[in-house]
Assembly symmetry: C2
Homo-oligomer: 212 residues x 2
């Protein structure tokens, strides 16, 4: 990809270089796993010497953590966009319908793998752990916000949006847990569960958040 002859130096503004390092690390982490996010791997990807990446990230843990946050933050904004400050965005039910449609696609598989990856790796890497906790709470907060909006608009009936969001996320994360193993063996009962749980939590009839 990015290759140039040896010795030829390209000097960039620190902010720009740092940003492209994190972006590359996020891409590697998302597609190949966070343990592939190493100084050498990212450097190769950028056509740069490992020492340079080490210069921006003296501790490799920080790079892995930022890679995770970068990838999941982008994904969250794609799945559950923050509602516009004022005026009329899409209806909460519409937002959720779109959300459940998107996470059913195979494009979401890499994201499932990334979360699984990060949650396990957090056992050993405290810096990553903090980032994962922050993202988990952010996703929950974002989802709870949609529920709150929908309840205010009379679309949903939900006494405790935060707890309901947490439970829907349990279903989503539980269903995506098998992504590397027996997912296809039990596809049918598993895949439909998150949407069903959401409908139950929001007091909606079965199928209300379904496609079409």
């Amino acid at each position: 990809m990015t290759s140039r002859g040896p010795g030829k130096r390209v000097r960039k503004a620190p902010a720009e270089r740092r940003h492209e390092i994190v972006a590359t690390a996020a891409r590697v982490g998302l597609t190949e796993g966070l343990e592939c996010v190493t100084l050498r791997r990212v450097a190769d990807e950028l056509g740069v010497r490992p020492g340079l990446v080490g210069h921006y990230f003296p501790a490799a843990d920080a790079l892995v953590a930022e890679a995770f946050t970068g990838a999941t933050m982008a994904e969250l904004d794609g799945l559950l966009p923050e509602p516009p400050a004022e005026g009329d965005g899409p209806t909460p039910a519409g937002v959720l319908r779109r959300f459940f449609t998107l996470i059913s696609g195979t494009e979401f598989d890499d994201v499932s793998r990334l979360w699984l990856n990060a949650r396990h790796l957090s056992r050993y890497r405290p810096v990553l752990r903090e980032h994962v906790v922050a993202q988990e709470l952010l996703w929950c907060r974002r989802f709870a916000g949609v529920i709150t909006d929908g309840t205010a608009a009379g679309e949903f009936s939900c006494p405790n949006p935060w707890a309901a969001a947490a439970r829907v996320l349990v279903a989503i994360d539980g269903a995506s847990t098998y992504i590397n193993t027996s997912a296809e063996h039990r596809a049918e009962p598993i895949a439909t569960m998150p949407r069903t749980v959401a409908e139950a939590e929001l007091g909606l009839p079965a199928g209300a958040l379904g496609p079409g």
Copy 2:
């Protein structure tokens, strides 16, 4: 632990040695993580040279996979014992009550970590992957068996035990996914969910599978 002077050799029957290697690997994997299951680590634990472990497991992947199966198999038998061939064991509802009580305890945390660990690692290690798939299906089958028994006995009402078991396991695995990260931040809504899902799936009133 097991230490003896250098050079002193203890020669054991292959079956016995192999068994103690797997048992040690299972213990290390359960308490410290499957990436700590290395030839050297297991050898140190046994007071033996790394080459010996390598002799029994020419590929380290196989050792990790067997360590996982050993640990989860023991756990399953502790949580959901296979019913006696004939005669009267405990009632299915009683079995499930006991099950949900046990997985609520902190002793189950290591098991949660192990599953998370194994499911991620399966991404890279095909041998482990097969073992994890087998265990996932076994747990599901075992759970479905209890549901089937309870339905036959008139305790439960469940049209599809296999699918119901799969969904309850989604709730359990989803709830335990946060064990290394934000588990304690959202303990309340998350911890109660598996039992609630089970009660709904089995047509039981809320709290029917609760403690006491």
